[in-house]
């Protein structure tokens, strides 16, 4: 295929603005799939993704379009994840494209996430075609939204198609505009191979399937290739394109400008890192493509099977997930309260939630997770620095010289009426104000520097609830900063429960400790004896609650002679107790561990 008839593009959009639906329509219109083969959302192939309306793993599909100019074009539609946790993956997907469709909901307008991805696309010199979606809705206001796109992003919206991805209205125009407005790829098919990895997938038959964009040169079956950052070499077994849900091997392989996949009996996705460059081992490129970086987990938590005997199942499940998710980290750890489990690292909170849900749904594992934390740097008096991801590993106060915590650059886009409320929220969360940018009369972007540990605590939920869902957030890691941090321990029946400890800023410790103690009081059922619950820092108690001794637990009624019913009630009650963790003499329900994670907002108002 000649390069000038190829279009490589992504669709960028805020969640719910209709990215997947538009992708479906494009796939449908290009006629590659029959109606019967169409699932509702072809690109979102995981059940979980569909339910959450989020695309987790980037994938790509090759489509054939017969344009009005009579020529045949190849569209490579590269899907991108739509969440801040996967920012780096998004950037690599965009680096594989020449253009992008910017889908904006005509009933909503531009959101922080749209903007962030849009800037990413502009950073990669992508040509951006705005598409105004959902014009079939009564509340649609395409003129206002077009104006917003021009004002905020500075894109010309004159050619922007007004569409309804849901009803299929004006999709043809989008296809024509792709041909007309987005540039074809460049690159020399005879130069040494440089291909960008933008995603990979583990398949138990073929090994890792590596999704690539060939920038220079060509790749074909039998060729020995080198992964430049990983430093590994493999022989290509198969190279080709992605059809709709199927791989289509090609004898000629892929050449400069094309998007496709290859396999090479690779056993681990961790060898095929997103952003790495594939080159010809025999005739290597002088240097790798720019932009590769190793992704480090930002958020850690402990994961324990609710039933201790399921530890091996949890290990197997994490290993399976890791096959397909190089950014998931885990190592075994032991908690006095929860037994054997794993300390797991994630790109962000959403990534963590997704893994939790997959463990639940796909592997049927009932989990207890500990409060998520970030990686702190602890500088010891002996000059040593440790990266702390588990609060239990914090050295004694005497050995610590000082500590640093990660700070992020946060951008919050919101209607101006919420500026006051949200500034107050950021201040509460130790944010440092940087600037306010007014994007039009009714909207603004707040720029803040914020500690990451405040963001992962409950910031998203608070932001949404205080702006009635209108504010959106984007952040990226900026630096580490010295901070007064302490470890807050929770003592139940005078024993510290390691799984409930976490690192918190000194100024927040009292309030947080008091609230968690209150919650634990509500979650821990009454026992035969009184149970003190204390929050403490370094042995000093800062808050206390008491679970009173149980006074009543009796079925007084006789239910006629229906002993079976009575027995079932007792069995049910007994079963409920089995799901608790025995900690010393105290039985702690699973919910108590989770209550530490709960959103604070209710208590505040």
């Amino acid at each position: 295929m000649i390069q000038k008839n190829i279009r490589n593009f992504s669709i960028i959009a805020h969640i719910d603005h209709g990215k997947s639906t538009l992708a479906d329509r494009i796939i449908e219109k290009t006629g590659l799939l029959t109606q019967r083969e169409m699932q509702d959302q072809v690109l979102d192939n995981m059940e979980l993704e569909r339910e959450r309306g989020i695309t987790i793993k980037a994938q790509a599909v090759r489509l054939i379009y017969h344009a009005k100019d009579g020529q045949e074009y190849i569209f490579n539609l590269i899907d991108t994840p739509g969440h801040v946790d996967f920012n780096y993956e998004v950037s690599r997907s965009l680096a594989a494209c020449e253009g992008a469709l910017l889908v904006v909901d005509s009933t909503q307008g531009v959101e922080a996430q749209t903007l962030a991805n849009c800037y990413l696309a502009l950073d990669h010199n992508l040509e951006i075609l705005p598409v105004i979606n959902k014009i079939d809705l009564i509340s649609a206001d395409p003129d206002r939204v077009k104006q917003e796109i021009e004002d905020i992003i500075g894109l010309d919206t004159e050619k922007a198609p007004l569409i309804s991805a849901k009803t299929g209205q004006n999709i043809d125009e989008v296809l024509e505009k792709i041909v007309e407005c987005l540039p074809p790829p460049e690159g020399d098919p005879d130069a040494p191979l440089q291909a960008l990895i933008f995603d990979s997938l583990y398949d138990s038959y073929r090994g890792v399937i590596v999704f690539i964009r060939v920038k220079e040169g060509r790749i074909r079956k039998g060729m020995r290739i080198r992964l430049m950052a990983a430093g590994k070499e493999y022989d290509v077994v198969e190279a080709g394109y992605m059809g709709a849900g199927t791989l289509m091997p090609s004898e000629e392989g892929l050449s400069a400008g094309e998007v496709g996949y290859f396999t090479a009996s690779i056993k681990e996705v961790s060898h095929t890192r997103v952003g790495d460059t594939v080159t010809d081992a025999a005739r290597p490129a002088a240097e790798p493509l720019p932009g590769y970086k190793e992704v480090q987990p930002m958020v850690y938590c402990g994961m324990y099977p609710a039933d201790g005997s399921h530890y091996p199942d949890l290990r197997d499940a994490l290993e399976k997930l890791k096959l397909n998710d190089a950014s998931l980290h885990f190592e075994a750890e032991t908690s006095k309260a929860l037994g054997f489990g794993f300390r797991c690292g994630f790109l962000g909170l959403l990534h963590m939630e997704i893994i939790e849900e997959r463990l639940d749904r796909e592997f049927n594992l009932d989990l207890i997770t500990t409060a998520p934390g970030v990686v702190y740097r602890v500088y010891k008096t002996n000059g040593e620095m440790i990266e702390l991801s588990n609060p239990a590993d914090l050295p004694d106060a005497g050995e610590i010289s000082y500590m640093e915590e990660p700070m992020v650059k946060a951008e919050i886009m919101l209607p101006t009426e919420y500026i006051g409320t949200i500034m107050k929220l950021c201040q509460d969360r130790r944010g440092v104000y940087v600037s306010t940018e007014y994007v039009e009369n009714t909207r603004a972007i707040l720029h803040y520097r914020m500690p990451l540990n405040e963001i992962i605590y409950d910031f998203f939920d608070a932001l949404k609830s205080r702006s009635r869902g209108y504010a959106s957030l984007d952040y990226e890691l900026e630096s580490y900063e010295r901070s007064s941090l302490v470890r807050l321990d929770m003592l139940i029946n005078r024993e510290p429960v390691d799984a409930l400890s976490f690192i918190v800023h000194e100024s927040k410790a009292y309030e947080r400790g008091r609230r968690i103690a209150e919650r634990l009081k509500d979650e821990i059922p009454r026992h035969l004896f009184e149970i003190p619950i204390q929050a403490a820092i370094g042995g000093k108690v800062i808050a206390r609650e008491t679970v009173k001794a149980m006074r009543k637990d009796v079925l007084a009624k006789c239910y006629g002679g229906d002993i079976t019913r009575k027995k079932k009630l007792l069995e049910k009650q007994k079963e409920g107790k089995k799901r608790m963790r025995q900690f010393g003499e105290v039985e702690i329900p699973q919910a108590a561990f989770m209550s530490v994670l709960k959103f604070d907002e209710d208590d505040k108002t």
Partner: protein, 400 residues
């Protein structure tokens, strides 16, 4: 758990004899009458108002079921009869006479001191009915008094006022009933501790032989549950409710009523034989809609579908065996049902029944519950402590 000692395994011979064939079986009879004037706010029993046609059809079906059990009755001696509901006192004298004569006509022998109770609601008792019950052989009436304050009675949807209770008791006395139970409820919405103490005093003034004092249980699906959840009704807190329970034990004991089970109190010798049969693992047959039976080691339950019950020509098809108790189940039930009684369970009886001591079967459970102060030993028996009465479920769970 070892089964050794219970059944002698004889190789090559499948005819095992586990016990002497019982010549006659001692049987409790429960008869369910599901109709009532109006359903109370807290009630989750199988009951509902019914029209004349439904009542008539039900009675026919009930009599059919009774007659269908002729062979069982013939090999049994009746120990007790309990007609519960619903509101059995809704039955007109002719209806009741028909039911009672069907029972008497089908039954074989009766124990000399057989107890025959009918449940009655104040406001539905008349002289004619009381006289009819008496004539038909009923010797005990259980009256749903619940509380002595009219405002509380209204609150929980009862149809009667306190004056109706007094009136009904008068009628029953005149008809010759000397064995009366009053059902009372503590922990009602808006009920104070003083209200409860007054209820106890008012009940005692009626000189019953027996008192059942239940804690209100807010059951799923009842109007009460909705009202409590929506905040329209406020229940006494747990501490107050437990004080009411403590008042009950103290006041009734002082008045000469001995507590013989978690919720039941009686003058000496007036303990309800029928109630006791549930806790002693004695056999009983349940007749009527949704009624439960315990026969030949099986727990059986009748259909709860009124239309099906009325239509079914073959009474044997009404019942479903819910479980067949094995040795372990029987031991478990023996413990958790027996422990409801203040006298507790006797190790001698347990050994006689199962060939082993309960200390051998449940060593850890018993040790823990003794340590926690929920059980105590008294002369070879194991029984709930005062605290164990409040926390009985914890004890029962250990044996389930």
């Amino acid at each position: 758990m070892s089964m050794a000692g219970e059944i002698p395994a004889v190789s090559g011979d499948t005819t095992w004899i586990t016990c002497e064939p019982t010549a006659v079986r001692s049987l409790g009879v429960y008869i369910h009458y599901p109709f009532c004037v109006r359903k109370c706010a807290y009630c989750d029993f199988l009951s509902a108002p019914g029209d004349d046609a439904a009542r008539k059809a039900y009675l026919e079906a009930l009599i059919r079921e009774i007659r269908g059990q002729k062979s069982l009755f013939e090999e049994s001696v009746i120990r007790s009869v309990f007609i519960g509901g619903g509101t059995p006192s809704l039955m007109e004298p002719d209806e009741f006479a028909e039911l009672a004569s069907a029972l008497r006509g089908t039954a074989g022998d009766w124990e000399a001191d057989a107890e025959w109770t009918i449940e009655a609601n104040p406001g539905t008792v008349t002289q004619d009915k009381a006289r009819c019950w008496r004539e038909q052989g009923v010797n005990r009436v259980s009256m749903g008094m619940q509380a002595s304050q009219d405002r509380l009675l209204r609150r929980i949807g009862r149809i009667h006022v306190m004056e109706d209770v007094r009136q009904s008791v008068r009628i029953l006395r005149e008809a010759g009933f000397d064995n009366l139970n009053l059902d009372l409820m503590m922990g009602l919405p808006d009920q104070s501790r003083e209200d409860w103490q007054e209820t106890l005093r008012e009940a005692l003034a009626l000189e019953p032989t027996h008192l059942s004092c239940y804690s209100l249980i807010v059951e799923d699906g009842t109007p009460l549950k909705n009202m409590v959840e929506s905040g329209q009704m406020l229940l006494p807190d747990e501490d107050t409710e437990r004080e009411m329970y403590a008042d009950t034990i103290r006041i009734l004991d002082a008045a000469g009523y001995k507590q013989y089970e978690i919720s039941n109190f009686a003058e000496p010798g007036r303990e309800s034989r029928h109630n006791l049969s549930y806790w002693d693992l004695s056999e009983y047959i349940g007749l009527g809609l949704g009624a439960s039976s315990y026969l030949d080691g099986r727990r059986i339950k009748n259909t709860s579908d009124l239309r099906q019950y009325i239509k079914e020509e073959h009474p044997e098809r009404l019942a479903v065996v819910e479980e067949t108790l094995n040795r372990q189940d029987r031991m478990s039930e023996w413990m958790f049902l027996g422990l409801r009684k203040t006298a507790g369970v006797s190790d001698t009886d347990f050994k006689e029944m199962f060939g082993q001591s309960f200390d051998e079967i449940y060593p850890e459970q018993i040790a823990k519950l003794l340590w926690d102060g929920l059980l105590e030993r008294k002369a070879g028996r194991l029984c709930l402590t005062r605290r164990g009465l409040d926390l009985a479920n914890i004890v029962f769970e250990a044996f389930v």
